[in-house]
Symmetry: C2
């Protein structure tokens, strides 16, 4: 699958060092490592060995490439567990609303194993704010779950979350409260090893 690089993002917000880590898989395009120091000192970001200023954002093309890679990783991870991918993307239409023209939202895939049918929303959490990414993921999840209840009620919807985002963001108290309140089934995946680490039904 070509090479990839690891990435640590560090933001300083209100004098609190907010550390976030994400591992991004990209085809080789000359980038190597972006690294940041932990702790109370100001973050030091490096890209291709060069020290960066206070932030180091992804380029749009990198985000798109990473999205494709994460998507492929989840597909492969499901297939390793004997799921058969049946629809990628999964097309839905409910009450005159076509969900495949839902520009900017994550596309779902559908899979089956024995008598089980699932749909998976694959989220990469690559923006500067995992909370804002989670708002968007939650709203999309709840709208798609509602659409599935009407059009395909035996199919269970899961939110696929990268392992590092799960550790860094979803274990916080508020995120746990929200996941529980809205009954969000999750698949925690490792985008590098291309395996599912945990099913949270």
């Amino acid at each position: 699958m070509g090479s990839f690089y690891s990435h640590w993002r560090i933001r300083v917000v209100n004098e609190l060092s907010v550390e976030e880590a994400a591992i991004v898989l990209l085809p080789d395009h000359g980038c190597s490592i972006i690294a940041g120091d932990r702790g109370d000192s100001p973050p030091i970001l490096r890209r291709n060995g060069q020290r960066q200023s206070s932030s180091c954002k992804f380029r749009e093309t990198e985000v798109m490439a990473a999205k494709d890679r994460f998507h492929a990783a989840v597909r492969i991870a499901l297939e390793k567990e004997q799921w058969k991918i049946t629809d990628d993307p999964l097309r839905l239409e409910v009450g005159g609303t076509k969900f495949e023209i839902d520009l900017g939202a994550e596309q779902l895939l559908a899979a089956e194993r024995d008598q089980e049918k699932i749909a998976v929303e694959i989220k990469t959490f690559l923006s500067d704010s995992p909370l804002t990414d989670y708002h968007a993921a939650l709203g999309q999840f709840l709208n798609y779950r509602l659409a599935l209840e009407i059009s395909d009620p035996t199919r269970l919807l899961y939110l696929a979350v990268p392992m590092v985002t799960y550790e860094v963001f979803f274990k916080r108290e508020f995120a746990q409260l929200s996941l529980e309140r809205y009954q969000i089934k999750q698949i925690i995946y490792d985008p590098i090893q291309e395996v599912i680490v945990q099913w949270i039904p």
Copy 2:
């Protein structure tokens, strides 16, 4: 408040003419009218009287200016109905999560009248996809409502929706189902007249 212009967006998706309308308020900067033909013919978009190609997107600065204007319009509309704006933005912190550093999300404002306390999420729906905007608005709304339940349980949360978006998008069957399922209280506002057209509790 300076001048403003009206705007009609028209997208052609899968040979279906999907029409969307939005009214945008901007300080005078030389733009006048963007208009599109209705019906089955290909859309004709004009900006400053000049015919445009197939799409005519907002510039980032226009979106930011429009956001500020919509925000100001809702404030003024609430004040016209004797609400007192008490917090703009409203700051929340629950379980270690500070919502004011929620980059990219809409900021809430808080208002009071007599014994009533509300919080309002002001959404502009300016992207190419009102459905994707709605996912983000819904997720943010539900997370903020959950945060308010914990930190300020007597305050009711409303989603402020521009009148035209309400007519064009929210009256569709699926959007109605979703609003009802997730019990989203709405304020429908007219951003030009700066009035609240309807409260949907």
